[in-house]
């Protein structure tokens, strides 16, 4: 009897130890990607026509906060602060935002294909941008603001339709995805129509905008994006455990006390807002919203309390790295980063799902 008890206690301790070490692995993953992102940012800023060492980059950045403490090369403050840092900061913010939005959308819709792209957000932004560039119509005054405001407003239209269907027609997750895909087609078709009737210069502008680029950002944009992320991401993390519970189906989630419809709509709105505010400043940067959450889940499992922050960090590191390639591959020519994310990320993802022994879904 005593032996039996000791055996049971040992088994119990073993289960707890395994659980704790799994948590440890998740925290390690998150810490690793924080450091990697910081390092990649340093590398990214150090590269360019004017080369600095990585340490000089960090010194230049810290010099702002602790003046006369570091030795900073001439010109470095201007190049770092005014040119290169904007790119990198936008890369970090966009990577975090797109990945977090994708992870949340996949979670609430219980569908591995959900992302800002499949839900029509990018197509909406594309139409908004095309309207602003080609037809010059839309909301907002000056041309730059017109473009951003247009892209933002139009990218939210599909989300409103989807949320409306969920709210008033009690649409299931499957219906919500199909509605998103239907709207992607509609918005793309209207965009194509505009492209067809536009002149060559405007067409090129639109196409380049669509490709997604980090170079458009200014310090002013960061406040907008940064504030939206700072409000929205904590909200998503707050709801992340409910997201786990909903992963087992609506019935089970209801029986565990979750107001499923309300939570789904709430997360959909918050995630769409994140995606929209990023897409309107950067254009379409594909792949991250879809795949960063999957790669994260392959590494650390499906607990959204960790998946949401971890996939955000993975997205940031990935996008900053992709931007380094975009700038260096054909230097001095800069390739739009959206092209690189898909070209590099696609094969990487294929490799990961092929290598995985057990079924992931």
């Amino acid at each position: 009897m005593i032996e039996e008890n000791a055996d049971a206690a040992a088994k119990r301790q073993e289960a707890l130890d395994e659980y704790e070490s799994f948590i440890g692995r998740k925290i390690f993953f998150i810490s690793f990607f924080i450091l990697l992102t910081v390092l990649l940012c340093g590398i990214s800023i150090s590269l360019g026509p004017l080369k600095f060492s990585i340490l000089e980059v960090y010194a230049t950045i810290f010099d702002r906060f602790f003046p006369n403490f570091f030795s900073v090369p001439d010109l470095a403050p201007i190049v770092v602060w005014n040119v290169r840092l904007t790119r990198v900061v936008m890369g970090v913010l966009a990577g975090i935002g797109l990945a977090v939005a994708g992870a949340s959308m996949q979670g609430i819709l219980r569908n591995p294909l959900a992302s800002p792209f499949t839900l029509g957000i990018s197509a909406g932004a594309g139409l908004g941008a095309a309207l602003a560039i080609i037809a010059g119509v839309g909301i907002g005054g000056s041309s730059g603001l017109l473009l951003v405001a247009n892209a933002f407003i139009f990218s939210l239209i599909p989300s409103f339709v989807i949320v409306g269907l969920a709210r008033f027609k009690r649409a299931t997750p499957e219906t919500m995805i199909l509605a998103g895909i239907a709207m992607t087609y509609i918005f793309s078709a209207v965009s194509s129509l505009l492209h067809y009737f536009s002149d060559a210069d405007a067409l090129k502008d639109v196409v380049v905008w669509l490709m997604g680029d980090l170079g458009k950002a200014t310090w002013g944009d960061f406040y907008t994006v940064g504030i939206v992320l700072a409000i929205c991401i904590p909200l998503l993390i707050w709801k992340s455990w409910d997201l786990n519970v909903m992963g087992g189906g609506d019935e089970a989630a209801k029986s565990l006390g979750i107001n499923v419809e309300q939570t789904r709509i709430f997360i959909m709105i918050v995630a769409s807002l994140i995606a929209a505010v990023i897409v309107c400043f950067t254009g379409m940067i594909g792949f991250i919203g879809l795949v960063a959450p999957h790669i994260t889940r392959i590494c650390i499992g499906g607990d959204n309390r960790f998946v949401i922050p971890a996939s955000g960090l993975f997205g940031a590191a990935f996008l900053v790295a992709a931007d380094i390639i975009a700038r260096e591959a054909m230097s001095p020519l800069i390739i739009p980063v959206g092209i690189v994310t898909s070209c590099v990320g696609g094969p990487l993802f294929l490799y990961l799902i092929a290598r995985k022994k057990k079924d992931y879904w």
Partner: protein, 263 residues
Amino acid sequence: MKLKVMDVEFGYASTPILRGVNLELARSEVLSIVGPNGAGKSTLIRCINRILNPQKGCIQLDGSDIFQMTRMQIARQLGYIPQSDHQSFPATVFDVVLMGRRPHIGWRSGRRDKEKVLDVLQMLNIEQLAMRDVNEISGGQRQKVLIARALAQEPDVLLLDEPTSNLDIRHQLEVMDAIRTLVAEKNISAIMAIHDLNLGSRYSDRMIMLKKGVIAAAGSPFSVLTEDNIKQVYGVDAAVKEEDGLPYVVPKSPIKHNGGKQL
């Protein structure tokens, strides 16, 4: 805890599923709901914890109306065990059982919640599965995980929807034994929808037989599982024997002409 279901009616659009269902459940009691496919067994279970909202009627827990309660309040008293469960994304057994703590805590699970999870895993003897992915374990194991999750909720009443479907006979008995033991040890009660009349007979104190959303018979297994009731409700000729002091049904043949009520 006393559960009372009064005059519950539920239907989809114009198709009525449940009509005027009444039942009562006392503490430490196991109640089985039997009946043919489409009789409303699962629907009744789902109405009781408001996964579905009945159009009419009243459901009370210890005298308080569940329609006045929030989902969280209901979840602290009623644990639901679905027929099957598929996690859309990878999830460990430990994390799935931990979800049962959701009605009691907000965002963070603490040391106490982990201990509770270990307690129920140990009780059901599945602690060695703790870190396995729920989508990769066997059907019988998964059913135990779902029971564990409901127990982590610390409910007063367990609602089970076909807990033994898709299980082999050994796992059926293991799962039913586990439910019986838990009801006795924790002084809770259980309502289960079940297809297998003999399992229902063996493991429940009382039975309810539903036919097209109406209670056709209710009472002890002996009073419900009669040859006549089975003929009327299922349209099946059956012999009812006795084994271990309990009725035992041997289905023989479907009745060919049943006044147009062929099933």
